[in-house]
Structure formats: structure tokens, C-alpha cells
């Protein structure tokens, strides 16, 4: 029953003027396979209207339904005592103590950023921000993981410039500091760049807002920007058949307005401080469709949406366009009855549109009305339960052969090899990028970009620090997805640990190629298996995430890239440490075992031109033991600087610490380690850290007691990086090489 | 009626955006491009039929908001 006496199940909806007949081509243009369309017919009991077809198309798209990835994502650990909300909501929620919760998620905006880098990246940031503040959290930090193509590729420079400007343009205007991230370059991304944006926000644990609608009859309210034709794909429009005025109806690229989103953020937070919200959801991908559908579905209810009441930016918009528009900066709210005026006042103060566009029903159907006519009528539960879920065939990538250090040439010139690595695109300073991001607003940034392995911001109202990172080593994942997946989680865990914080939870952004290819599906499966194991052993559950598939051009897929975003807490931010070496006379201690693993190392790639070998193995028990030890030493105030080892291995990590802090060191390979020197210094063995300590003896003694390998390499001091018997390089030379590459690359003329 | 307002930088005010545009054009294979100045174009729909009145009001709009007269000039064109 609808509540207005009309038996909706029996009466088919009214078609729109000039609505085309649905043909197999139109079905295909909507991204539905013939089998999927058969399911639609079975659910509907009749041919759908174009609007209804559009809704199925959106809800059953890969992005909204996770149809290719769901079966695998289920294998990820998602629980822990500190997890308040795992995957399934707009973002994940964890308890960080003192009645506070951290709410966070990472999302991709890959394809749009390739087409229009500034707006693609900007709207990506806008979207993830909304996902976090829709749950009641004021965002306090942004991070991003960017993957670009070969620097020599003609489009790369333009993409870097646009993406960075877009991220900065949106985040800076919103007033949220962008405090960390990573940027890599590889030819595999030439046709498909990756823009993964992460936001972390803070909310009181007793004031978190969810999407599940409740209360039959409660009003459905639209707030934010007016709806235009952004993001609607031309193919599905068949504009000449809908209307004569096809020129004016050409769909547009999504354009973000961070000023409006800032107003929306403040208005929403103001509304959230009252007691009138029942449920709230942002309008992201598939806009009004996915938000209204999910709110009703989660609440086990139905909804009537009166589309003619939707605030419109363009003239002549039709229900199809209104349901599928991806205009930015809009939210959907279910209010308590009778509170509409109170809410409206807040949005009017902030000069935002506010419209009651429908209400909840008990029919479990989504009913769309247009000037009194019913133009869409879909049963909600079957659309959810019958949504396609694919168990796509997969083949695992076999583990490549281990590279023996003896088969890898040592550098002819150690100085040149270090300078070349430090100035290589992946390792070079990214200051050109993050100086375009306001990383200081809110006055809580304790560790600035490149000053530590994780970003660290103070949580207002106390001494707590929130450590955040984004990490992944795609070349490892390509070589052996399971190891790469394990390593990505382990490295994110190490990053948080290295600043002294306790790692709490993960948000994963899975970027892969075409899942209909078994080897790609196998990459996904392998990565998930590795990630799941690491999350389990490290007590590091996944609380939110995103999947981006089909990142390939002309059959060439990207490197499989499971970006791991992570958050941790340090109770007293004054105890946190960065990686800058600023004092002389400190002992430089290497934690963890070094066997000299050169397979898939940057040295092997950059110096020898080889991308081969098995990636370094990850022993999770060792990771845990070594990391917990490092954290304990930091807590005991024995650590002045700490850096976990990753790309480039030990020598690169030491160089990074030295130039960041302006203090050199004199060190040597320990006598009893008989690994060839290039393997010792450039190998990328996992589970390792460098600690600079004024009480190195105590650290080493404690390490041995804990069963953690630890050895003194030397002492800090001077203005050079000296490795006895191998090289002596002035820090100024290293710094110059490190800092020159990116600005030089970006300002070079064609 | 429709009004078109052009807001341009005064001579002598440095225009780094114009400079960047000029250099980009040169690099794209248009060496004949010399100095470039970038300005703003604002189109307004006015509910007014008297041209003189409209001109006077637009003048005020420009001085009050549309142009920063410290560094910008403006010109007004009425259409229709």
C-alpha cells in the first residue's frame, strides 16, 4: 500500500514524452549485460521505463554494487574492540578514546581525473569529504595517493599539474589541511592515472550519523547545490529522442565548488548539533538515485521522491536526468516530522538550497513522481538481493624466482648511485606538490610532509595525536599479489608505528584492471588474501574502502594497486617522533634483519633497468614484534628520530633522515653481516626501522631481550653522509639532487 | 537588456597570468604572440529599458564591486 490508495504494484508508471523504446543497445549503453537485464525484467514484472533502467544501471554498476569484488572483500577482517562501524556505511568509524571517534575513508576518482585532471581530482576530494562529514565528523586531515605515468609520456606533466592544483584548490578552500600521501610514476599508468583521496574526521562517539532511514512519513529533504546535468553520459541520453533542444542538453563534466561545500559542511554540522536528523547521506556517484535508494533500503522502508521539487540549475530537466545527475555538493536528509522549518533556517543562513522532496513509506518500493504522475516504481529489496554478484574466474600470479644479490651488479660509483636514486621520480622530493596544499590550517599539524613516515595531527581538546598514512608498493603487488597485499598493510602499519602511534584501522582503495580477465581477478584475489592475513595478524581491521576496476587502456592494465590508508593514535602527542635527524652524537641503530633483498627493489629498477624477481617476503610475526618494540622505545623517550625502511632500502632512508634534519652521520655495514654491500644498503627487506637515539646501548640491549635484531651502525654528526669504505657525500649534494628533479621536470618546456 | 562588462588590468600592473599565457602560446607554435593581458568578461541581464539609466547604474556597479579601481579599468557595452 502506498498510503494514497493507489495500488502501485499494478499500475505501470507513465512514460516521459518522446521516451525511446528500450533496445539491447540502450541496455548495453547503460552498462547492463543481457543476463543482468533479464534479472531486471524478472524483478519488475514488465519492461522498465528509461528512468527505472537508469536506476538499475546505476545501482548495479561496479562502483555501487561491488559485483566483481564483493566475494573477495568479505574475506577482509573488519572487527576489533575499537571499531564502531565497519564497511557498509559512508565511512568507517573507530573509537579513539575520551568519547571521540575517528571517521575515515579513501576513495578513487581515477577515470574522471584522466579526462579533466583539475576537476576530476577536485571533485574526488569533495566526494570523500562529504562521505566523512555526512556521518557527523568535522574533517581534520586529507591525504592522497597519486599514481602517474612515465614522466616521459606526453600527458604526464599536464596531469600532474592539474591533479595537484585540483586537490589543492578544493582542500585549501574547504580549510582542511592536506598532510600526507604518496606520488609514484610508472609507465603502466600512462593511460590510467590513479587519484585516491582520503579524509579523516573527528566526531563524538555518541553523535554519529548513519544513512538508514527510519519513520514512515518522515520528510526527505534535499540540501546543497542545485542539480544540473553534470556527469550524465551522453550515450544514455539519446537527447535527440528526448527533446528537440539537444545542444543545450549536452551533459557536462562534474565541476566542483568548494566554497559551496564549505557552506554545506558548516550548515550540516550546525544541523547535526540539533536533534532533528534521523538519517543523512551525501549524494555521490549516481547522485539522488544511490542516496535515496540506499537510505530506504538500509531502513527497510520505501520512499516517494517528488522529482519536480528538486532544485534545478538548468531548464527542461527530466526525471532521468534528475535521478542520475552527479552534480556536486548535495546531501539527502531524513528529518523528524515537524522540524523542516528549523532545518530550513540553518540552510538559508548558509545560502544553500533546501527542499522537501519526498517522504518515507512502508511499501519498500522506490516511487518517483513528476508533477503528479508516477514515472518510476521499483521494489527495493529485490534490487538489493538480486543484485549481481560475480565470482569471476581467477588465476594467481606465480611467485617469481628470487633474485640473488650476486647476479646484481654493485654500483660502479656509490655516490652517483645514491644521487641517482634520490633524484629518481619515485624517491625525489615531492615538495613541489605539497607546498601547493595548505598543510598547516587548523594549527594542529605536528609532523609536516616528508618530516615523518606518517602525518600526525593533534586532536582538539587534549593531547592525543592522530597518525595517518597512505601506502602501497605496486611493483611488489604486480610481481606477487599476495606478498604485495601483505606488504602494503605491513608498511602502513610500520609508518604509523614509526612515529610512536598505535595502528588502529585501515581503509583500502583497490585499483585494478579488468576483472573479467582471470589474471587481473587473480591479482585482486591475491592482494586481498595477503591484506587479510596482515590485517588479522596485526590487529588492523579494514573499516571502509573503495574499489576501482577497469583501469586499463587498449588492454594494458595498471600495476595492481591496493592503496592502504591507515589511522593510529598516540595518547600524548608530545612523545611522537619524526624522521628528521637534527642532533649530532646520536647512535644510529638498525632494527630488524637484513639479508639483502634486491628483487623488485628500486635499485634493481633504476640502476639496472630490471623489474624482476620475487618481492621481499613479509613475516607478519616479525613485523609485529619489531614494530611493537620500536613503539615501546619511543614511549620510553629513547628515540630522537625514527624512519621505517621501504623504497630504496637502508641507504636511502639514512639519506632522507640526514637531509631532512640537516645532520650527517658516519656509519658502516656491521662486520658480522656478510651480505654484499649493495644488497645490504639497497635491499628492501621488510620489518626494519632506523632509530636515532641518545641511549643506543639501552635500545640495543632491550632489543636483544625482546628477540629483536638490532645493531649500531654509527653516529650522527657532520655535514656529510659517510659510509666507511664506500662513500662520503655532502648532505648539500644529496639535498640538491633530491629537491631538483620534480620542479625541474614540471617547469621544463616541451 | 543585456550588458557586457570588460574588466582589464591597468597598464603598468604586472600580469603574471597574461605572461604565462603568452609563453604557453609561443611554446605551442605561435611565436608571433607578444604581450598578453588577461581580464574578465561579465555578462548581466538587466531589467531596465532606459539605456542612459542602465549605463549610469552599471558604472556604479563597476566602481562598487565588479572592478577594483586601484588596479583595474572597466568598459561597458549595452546590447539590445
Amino acid at each position: 500500500m502506498s498510503g494514497n490508495g493507489v495500488s502501485l504494484e499494478k499500475n505501470p508508471p507513465v512514460k516521459l514524452p518522446n521516451e525511446p523504446v528500450i533496445t539491447p543497445q540502450i541496455v548495453a549503453e547503460h552498462g547492463l549485460s543481457p543476463e543482468e537485464y533479464q534479472r531486471v525484467l524478472a524483478i519488475m514484472g514488465r519492461t522498465p521505463t528509461m528512468v527505472e533502467l537508469g536506476i538499475f544501471s546505476a545501482m548495479w554498476s561496479e562502483h555501487c554494487s561491488y559485483k566483481s569484488s564483493k566475494v573477495w572483500l568479505k574475506k577482509l577482517p573488519t572487527k576489533a574492540p575499537w571499531v564502531i562501524q565497519g564497511p557498509g556505511e559512508n565511512a568507517g568509524v573507530i573509537d579513539i578514546g575520551d568519547g571521540q571517534a575517528a571517521i575515515f575513508k579513501m576513495e578513487s576518482h581515477n577515470h574522471p581525473s584522466y579526462i579533466e585532471p583539475y576537476q576530476g581530482a577536485a571533485t574526488g576530494v569533495g566526494g570523500i569529504l562529504r562521505d566523512v562529514f555526512t556521518m557527523g565528523a568535522r574533517p581534520i586531515a586529507n591525504l592522497n595517493a597519486l599514481r602517474f605515468g612515465d614522466p616521459a609520456h606526453p600527458k604526464t606533466r599536464h596531469l600532474v599539474s592539474g591533479v595537484v592544483a585540483g586537490i589543492g584548490g578544493y582542500g585549501n578552500c574547504m580549510g582542511i589541511p592536506t598532510v600526507g600521501g604518496e606520488t609514484n610514476f610508472h609507465a603502466a599508468y600512462n593511460g590510467n592515472i590513479l587519484v585516491n583521496a582520503m579524509t579523516v574526521g573527528i566526531a563524538p562517539t555518541d553523535r554519529i550519523f548513519y544513512a538508514a532511514a527510519a519513520g514512515v512519513g518522515n520528510p526527505l529533504v534535499y540540501v546543497g547545490s542545485k542539480t544540473g546535468r553534470d556527469g550524465i553520459h551522453g550515450a544514455t541520453m539519446a537527447s535527440t529522442e528526448f527533446s528537440e533542444d539537444s545542444e543545450e542538453k549536452r551533459p557536462t563534466v562534474q565541476v566542483g565548488d568548494p566554497f559551496v561545500e564549505k557552506l554545506l559542511l558548516e550548515a550540516c554540522l550546525e544541523l547535526m548539533a540539533t536533534d532533528v536528523i534521523v538519517a543523512i547521506q551525501d549524494m555521490g556517484a549516481a547522485g539522488l538515485t544511490s542516496s535515496s535508494f540506499e537510505m530506504a533500503a538500509k531502513g527497510g522502508l520505501g520512499v516517494i521522491v517528488e522529482l519536480d521539487k528538486v532544485p534545478m540549475r538548468e531548464t527542461g530537466m527530466n526525471p532521468y536526468e534528475l535521478m542520475l545527475s552527479e552534480s556536486q555538493e548535495r546531501m539527502l536528509i531524513v528529518l523528524k516530522p515537524g522540524t523542516e522549518e528549523q532545518a530550513r533556517k540553518i540552510f538559508e543562513k548558509w545560502e544553500l538550497d533546501f527542499a522537501v522532496i519526498g517522504h518515507l513509506t512502508d511499501t519498500e518500493r522506490m516511487v518517483l513522481s513528476w508533477h503528479g504522475d508516477i514515472v518510476g516504481n521499483i521494489p527495493i529489496p529485490p534490487l538489493v538481493t538480486e543484485a549481481p554478484v560475480y565470482e569471476r574466474p581467477w588465476t594467481l600470479t606465480p611467485l617469481p624466482a628470487v633474485i640473488d644479490a650476486a647476479s646484481v651488479p654493485a654500483p660502479k660509483d656509490w655516490r652517483a648511485s645514491l644521487l641517482a636514486l634520490m633524484s629518481s621520480p619515485d624517491l625525489a622530493s615531492k615538495a613541489w606538490i605539497w607546498h601547493q596544499y595548505d598543510h598547516l590550517i587548523m594549527g594542529n599539524t605536528a609532523i609536516r610532509p616528508q618530516d615523518g613516515d606518517a602525518a600526525l595531527v593533534r586532536v582538539n581538546g587534549g593531547h592525543k595525536g592522530l597518525a595517518m598514512t597512505s601506502d602501497c608498493t605496486p611493483r611488489y603487488v604486480q610481481a606477487h599479489p599476495e606478498t604485495g597485499g601483505r606488504q602494503a598493510v605491513a608498511e602502513a602499519w610500520r609508518n604509523i608505528t614509526a612515529v610512536g602511534a598505535r595502528p588502529l584501522a585501515v581503509t583500502d582503495n583497490m585499483n585494478f584492471g579488468n576483472p573479467q580477465k582471470p589474471e587481473i581477478m587473480g591479482q585482486f584475489a591475491g592482494a586481498i588474501m595477503g591484506m587479510a592475513e596482515a590485517c588479522k595478524v596485526l590487529d588492523f581491521p579494514v573499516v571502509s574502502g573503495n574499489v576501482s576496476l577497469y583501469n586499463e587502456t587498449e588492454g594494458r592494465p595498471i600495476l595492481p594497486t591496493p592503496t592502504i590508508g591507515a589511522v593510529g593514535v598516540i595518547e600524548d602527542i608530545a612523545k611522537a617522533v619524526g624522521s628528521r635527524l637534527t642532533q649530532a652524537g646520536l647512535g644510529i641503530v638498525l632494527i630488524g634483519e637484513t639479508q639483502g633483498w634486491l628483487g623488485q627493489s628500486l635499485y634493481l629498477r633504476e640502476a639496472c633497468g630490471r623489474e624482476e624477481g620475487a618481492p621481499p617476503p613479509v613475516d607478519l610475526a616479525v613485523e609485529r614484534r619489531n614494530g611493537d618494540f620500536v613503539r615501546s622505545q619511543i614511549a620510553m623517550d629513547r628515540v630522537e628520530a625514527c624512519h621505517d625502511l621501504s623504497d630504496g632500502g637502508l641507504l636511502v632512508a639514512l639519506a632522507e633522515m640526514a637531509i631532512a634534519g640537516g645532520t650527517g652521520m658516519e656509519i658502516a655495514q656491521p662486520a658480522r653481516n656478510v651480505v654484499p654491500s649493495h644488497a645490504f644498503f639497497y635491499g628492501e627487506d621488510q620489518g626494519r626501522y632506523v632509530i636515532a637515539s641518545g641511549s643506543a646501548d639501552d635500545v640495543i640491549e632491550a632489543a636483544h631481550a625482546a628477540g629483536v635484531p638490532a645493531v649500531l651502525l654509527g653516529y650522527s654528526g657532520g655535514a656529510s653522509l659517510v659510509v666507511k669504505g664506500l662513500l662520503s657525500l655532502p648532505l648539500s649534494d644529496i639535498k640538491a639532487a633530491h629537491e631538483a628533479w620534480l620542479p625541474g621536470y614540471m617547469s621544463a618546456t616541451e | 537588456m543585456k550588458a557586457r562588462v570588460h574588466v582589464t588590468l591597468k597598464n603598468g600592473v604586472l600580469d603574471p597570468q597574461g605572461k604565462a599565457i603568452g609563453h604557453s602560446l609561443n611554446r605551442l607554435g605561435f611565436p608571433e604572440v607578444g604581450d598578453v593581458r588577461q581580464g574578465k568578461f561579465i555578462e548581466l541581464e538587466l531589467d531596465e529599458t532606459d539605456k542612459a539609466k542602465a549605463k549610469a547604474r552599471l558604472d556604479e556597479m563597476c566602481r562598487k564591486l565588479l572592478a577594483n579601481t586601484v588596479i583595474e579599468n572597466y568598459s561597458i557595452e549595452l546590447v539590445g
Binding site: 585549501n172 566554497f259 564549505k262 598547516l440 594549527g443 599539524t445 | 577594483n68 586601484v70 588596479i71
Partner: protein, 229 residues
């Protein structure tokens, strides 16, 4: 010292400066909405950083015409001190409270970075806790911080000691080194004629705690407390 911090649609550093003021005075400032043509009398008015009105048309252009700014102009004329930071500086130049204008950074990009500033004079409400010639380190975060004024205005500013801060090298040399945006004569901040209104592009409010970027900015707020209490 009672302070009012203005809030426009799009302001985003009002929280930072409120935090700094509370740190130094022990008292939260009053937050004043742009639509209020009147607000409680205070010893100090602060126009904070951000992207008021999205920086649309010109930074600060629309904010300068808001009801609250009309009241601020009145009070400034009566000698009530006004501290205008970043977007605030842009707003008060648009409002005519300070001479000159802020244009797009010469290198055309947003820049967030520490800069060194030379304090030009300690003879003001704002700078009395610094020494003339002292070099301080504070951050900037802006895309339109390129200060410009015509020659006559510049001469007047120099002659009357109205330059508050200049970008300099870490050792205090003013020769363009460390100028993050191309500002003419490396000008980072200026006073009005009576030195009761000061505008600057850098963010002293983000340099008040040693652990969070250094505390060279604290003395600016301490100076205000000293002068106005």
C-alpha cells in the same frame, strides 16, 4: 583584552586565530557573523583568513561589502584596532581600510610554506613585543598574496613607516630571497596611517606553539594584549 573575530561564508582560519587568542589571553574571542551590522564592543577586531565568497570575482571583494564590514569601518575610524590576516588583508584593502591590493602570486600557484619576516618597527600595537629588525619565522598559505600599490602609495607608506613586515632571508637580508609571492618591495604586511589597522598575508596564528610550527607569532598577540589591556 576582548576580541571579535569575523566569520564570512567561506572563512576558514577563524578557528585558528580564535585558538591563538585564547591561548594568549585565556579567553575565547567573540565570533561575529558577517550579516551582523552590529556586535558587542571589543578592544580588537580580527578579520581572519579563508576563501570568503569562494574568492570569487576578487579575493575579499564581496566580503568587503557585507554589513559587518560597514560597522568595522566605522569602528576603525574611531581608532578600534583591526588585525587583518591573509583573506582578512584582502578584505580590508578592498574595503579601503588599508592601501594597495593583493594579486595572484607571481608564480601562479598556491603556496604553503614557512617564510622569514623582518619586523620593520616595534612602534605599534601589533609589533611592540618584537624588536625593529627582528627576523621571525611564520607560515604563509595563499594563492593571492602578491601585494601591489602604485609608486605614490608606496612612497607614502615608506615615508610614514607604514610597512609592518617584509619577506626576507633567514639572516634578515631583504633582497627578494624568501619572497613567496612576488610582492612589490617584499611587503608582507602594512599599517594604516594611525597604525591601528594592520594587514599581513602570513599567519602568525599558526606559529604560537613550538610543537606546531614554532612560536614566533605568539609575540604579535602578546603585544596586542599588552597594548590593549
Amino acid at each position: 583584552m576582548k576580541a571579535a573575530v569575523l566569520v564570512f561564508p567561506g572563512s576558514n582560519r577563524e578557528g585558528d586565530v580564535a585558538q591563538a587568542i585564547e591561548l594568549v589571553t585565556g579567553r575565547k574571542p567573540q565570533m561575529v557573523w558577517h550579516g551582523d551590522g552590529d556586535f558587542e564592543k571589543t578592544d580588537l577586531i580580527v578579520v581572519p583568513g579563508g576563501f570568503s565568497y569562494g574568492d570569487y570575482l576578487r579575493c575579499g571583494a564581496m566580503a568587503a561589502l557585507s554589513p559587518v564590514m560597514a560597522e568595522v569601518k566605522k569602528r576603525a575610524a574611531q581608532g578600534v584596532p583591526v588585525l587583518a590576516i591573509c583573506n582578512g588583508f584582502q578584505i580590508v584593502t578592498e574595503a579601503g581600510l588599508l592601501p594597495g591590493t593583493l594579486m595572484r602570486n607571481a608564480h601562479l600557484k598556491f603556496v604553503c610554506s614557512d617564510v622569514h619576516l623582518k619586523v620593520e618597527t616595534s612602534q605599534s600595537l601589533f609589533t611592540n613585543r618584537y624588536q625593529a629588525g627582528q627576523v621571525i619565522r611564520v607560515p604563509v598559505a595563499h594563492a593571492e598574496g602578491n601585494y601591489f600599490a602604485d609608486e605614490d602609495t608606496l612612497k607614502r607608506l615608506e615615508d610614514r613607516g607604514q610597512i609592518a613586515f617584509r619577506y626576507c632571508a633567514p639572516d634578515g637580508t631583504v633582497d627578494g630571497t624568501g619572497n613567496p609571492n612576488g610582492s612589490i618591495r617584499n611587503i608582507a604586511g602594512v599599517f594604516n596611517e594611525t597604525k591601528t589597522v594592520m594587514g599581513l598575508m602570513p599567519h602568525p596564528e599558526n606559529a604560537v606553539e613550538p610543537m606546531f610550527g614554532g612560536s614566533d607569532g605568539k609575540a604579535l598577540f602578546e603585544g596586542l594584549v599588552e597594548a590593549l589591556t
